[in-house]
Symmetry: C2
Subunit: 380 residues, 2 copies
C-alpha cells in the first residue's frame, strides 16, 4: 500500500531534500558548511519577507516559541496572549512558566481573533511589553489577520511575536511590512523539510530587547545564535543533515516562487472545500474568510467518530490525516494540504475519504460526487 501524508505537518518531503540529507555528513566547523548555512539563512529571509536576520535552532517549533519568551522578556513583564486554539494556549503556558503577567485575549476554537479587541485591551492595560499571536492555528485551521494586529502595534514599544509555524509559505505572510518583531516557523511545515529545525526572525526592535531580558537561557540564546550568524555558524553543533535538506527544499520553493507556492496551497484548499461541500459535510470553521491554506477541519458527521475516520483513512487506505486536539478530539478530522502536495493528491484524499465514510456508515453522498466536483474546479 502506498502511503500519503496529508496532515498539517510533518508533510511529504521531496526526494531532492531527502537524498541530500542522506549524503555523507560534512563537519559543521568548515567553510563548506558555512556556505550552505549562509545560503539557507538567505533563503529564510526571502520566505519570511524580511530584511532582518532569521536564526535557525535545532528544535521543534515549540522550542522556537519558548525561546521567543525567554529571550525577549523579563520576569513580571505584562504581555497580551491572543489565543484561538491549542497553539495559542501553548503561548499562554510558556509565558506563565517564565513568570510573565499574562493578559489573555481568547476566542472559541474555530473563530479568528479580532484586531479591534486588542485595541480595547491595550486601552485598558498599562505597560504591555509584548503581544503574542498565532498566524495559522493548526488545531482548527483558522488564519488570523496578522496584518491588522501589526497596524495597531506599529510605532509602539510593544514587541509583536507571531507563531507562523504552520502558517508561513502556505499562507501570505509579510514579516517586515506587517511589523512582526519576532516570527517563529518550523521546518516540517510549509518548508516541506524534515522536522527538527525552528526558524526565528528578529527585527531591530527585537534585537535591542535581547539585552534587557533576565530570563535564563543558553542553548536557545538568540544573542549567541545571532553572533555566529554572519560567519555561517551556530554556537553548538547544528543538525547538519536537516540544514542541508531544508536548504534544498528552500531552493525548490524559491524556484517555484513564493507567490506561486502560496497560490498552489490556496488552490488545494479550495479543491478540498469543494469536496467537503459535495459530501454534505460541515466545516469546523464556519467563516470561510478565515480558513487558512494549510489544513481544513471537518466536523465528523452524526454517528461517526472523527478519530475513526482518521484511523480508517490511514490503516485501510494509506492516507494519513490528522485528528482533533484537546476538547474537540473525536469530533473533527483535519485534512492537511501542506508541503509537497499536488492536485492529484487531493483526488486520492477524497477517494479514500468517500470509502472511509461509507465504511463507517455515513451514506449522505453519491459515490464519486466529491471527485466530480473537484475535477470541475480543476477544469474551470
Amino acid at each position: 500500500m502506498k502511503n500519503l501524508l496529508m496532515t498539517p505537518g510533518p508533510t511529504p518531503i521531496p526526494e531532492e531534500a531527502r537524498f541530500a540529507m542522506a549524503k555523507s555528513i560534512i563537519h559543521h566547523r568548515t567553510d563548506e558548511y558555512s556556505e550552505i548555512f549562509k545560503e539557507l539563512s538567505k533563503n529564510l529571509k526571502y520566505l519570511f519577507k524580511t530584511e532582518n536576520p532569521v536564526i535557525t535552532l535545532t528544535s521543534s517549533g515549540t522550542g522556537g516559541m519558548e525561546a521567543s519568551v525567554a529571550n525577549l522578556f523579563s520576569k513580571g513583564d505584562k504581555v497580551v496572549v491572543v489565543s484561538v486554539g491549542n497553539f495559542g494556549e501553548r503561548f499562554v503556558k510558556l509565558c506563565d512558566i517564565y513568570g510573565l503577567e499574562v493578559v489573555k485575549l481568547s476566542y472559541n476554537w474555530g473563530e479568528a481573533a479580532k484586531a479591534n479587541d486588542l485595541k480595547e485591551v491595550l486601552a485598558k492595560e498599562e505597560g504591555v511589553k509584548g503581544v503574542f499571536l498565532t498566524h495559522h492555528e493548526t488545531s482548527t485551521g483558522v488564519l488570523n489577520d496578522v496584518k491588522s494586529f501589526g497596524e495597531i502595534l506599529k510605532g509602539t514599544d510593544i514587541l509583536f511575536v507571531v507563531d507562523t509555524i504552520s502558517g508561513l509559505i502556505a499562507n501570505e505572510f509579510e514579516t517586515d511590512n506587517w511589523g512582526v518583531d519576532c516570527a517563529v516557523a518550523g521546518s516540517q511545515k510549509g518548508f516541506m523539510a524534515p522536522p527538527g529545525l525552528a526558524f526565528v526572525s528578529l527585527s531591530e526592535k527585537a534585537q535591542k530587547a535581547l539585552d534587557k531580558s533576565d530570563l535564563p537561557k543558553f542553548y536557545f540564546s538568540f544573542k549567541n545564535t545571532l553572533n555566529r550568524l554572519p560567519e555561517g555558524q551556530n554556537p553548538t553543533t547544528p543538525a547538519v543533515n536537516l540544514i542541508i535538506a531544508t536548504n534544498e527544499a528552500c531552493k525548490m520553493l524559491k524556484k517555484e516562487g513564493l507567490e506561486n507556492v502560496t497560490a498552489r496551497h490556496k488552490n488545494l484548499k479550495e479543491a478540498v472545500a469543494i469536496g467537503i461541500k459535495a459530501l454534505g459535510l460541515e466545516f469546523f470553521v464556519k467563516d470561510e474568510a478565515v480558513r487558512g491554506n494549510t489544513v481544513t477541519a471537518v466536523v465528523a458527521p452524526e454517528g461517526v467518530d472523527g478519530q475513526a475516520v482518521n484511523n480508517t483513512m490511514r490503516d485501510k487506505y494509506g492516507i494519513t490525516i490528522a485528528g482533533g486536539q484537546g476538547a474537540i478530539k473525536g469530533k473533527i478530522f483535519r485534512l492537511g494540504h501542506l508541503g509537497d502536495v499536488d492536485r492529484f493528491d487531493v483526488l486520492s484524499l477524497f477517494s479514500a475519504l468517500e470509502m472511509t465514510l461509507n465504511d463507517l456508515g455515513y451514506k449522505g453522498f453519491e459515490a464519486g460526487s466529491s471527485l466530480k466536483a473537484i475535477q470541475k474546479y480543476y477544469l474551470r
Copy 2:
C-alpha cells in the same frame, strides 16, 4: 577527492542510517512511529547500561546538559561542578545562568579530575544538592574516572549528573553500576548517527527530583517527556528522520556488541598513539592512563600552527580533524577516532598527517615511519 571525518563528532554515519533517514517520512502520531521510537528507547537503555528510562530530546548535546540543570535543581541550590576543560566550563556557565550556587572544582586542561578532591570538597561544603562531571572532555581527550566519583556519592541525596556526550559507547560507561543519576549523550558521537538528538537517562532519584525543581522549562521538560515515553511518543514533534537513522545505527552497534564497539575504539586509540610516537610528536594529555578512546589531542610541533595542520589536512588531503578550543586554539590539533571508523582509516589519517607535517616544515620523522609502526601493531 574523497572525504573522511576523523573528529570527535560529528562522525561518519553508516549508509544503513543515512538511507533509512532518506525514506519517505512517516507521521509521528502513528503506531508505526511509536514502534520505532520504543525500539530506540530500548536500544538506548542497552547502550547506557541502565534499567531506567532514557529520554530523547531534539537538540544538540548542550540542550541535554541545560535540561539537566533546569529539571533537577532549583534557584539557589548548591552544586559542585568538576571542570577539566571546555565542556566542564559549559556546566559552570549553565548552572550560573539558572542561578545555582556553584562550587567549582577545576583542573588544568589536559589533566583528569581526582575523586578524592571531591571528597574533600564535600567534607567542607554543606547542603550540596548535585555534582556535575564530564565523562570524556572533548576539548582535551581526557577521560574522567566516573566510577570513583560515583562511589563517593552512593547512598547520599546528592544527584550525580554526567556529561558523557563524547564518552558513551567509545568508552566504558555504566550508568546504573556507577550510580549516575542523570547521564547526557548526543547522537553525533559514539552513536555514529546524525547530529540533532540528545539522550538523557534518569535514575529513580533523579525522577523524584523533577517535582521539586522550580526552574522554568517546557520544551525540555523531563516530566512531559517521561510521561509520553511508555506509549512511544514525544510531547512535541520529534525529529522523525533523525530518530529513524539513530535507531538503525543503534541496531548496528547492538549487532557488533557494545563491548566489541568499545574495544574497537580502544584499538584505534592505541594505533593512533603508536603513530604519534613514531612521528616524535607530543601528547597534550601527558598521563596515558586518562586518555580516552574518542579523540587524541596532539601538541603542534615547534614552529607549526595547530590550526594550519587542521586546515591542510582538510583542504589538501580531504581528512577533517579538529582544532584546539579556547586558550589552546592553534597549539594543538585533535585526531578523532570515533564512530564508523576502522583501522584502515587510521592509516589514511597518518598518511595525510605525514604529508601535512612535511608541507608545514616539520621534518622530525622518516617517511612512512608512523604507518610502519601502526601496521606492526595491527600484525601483533
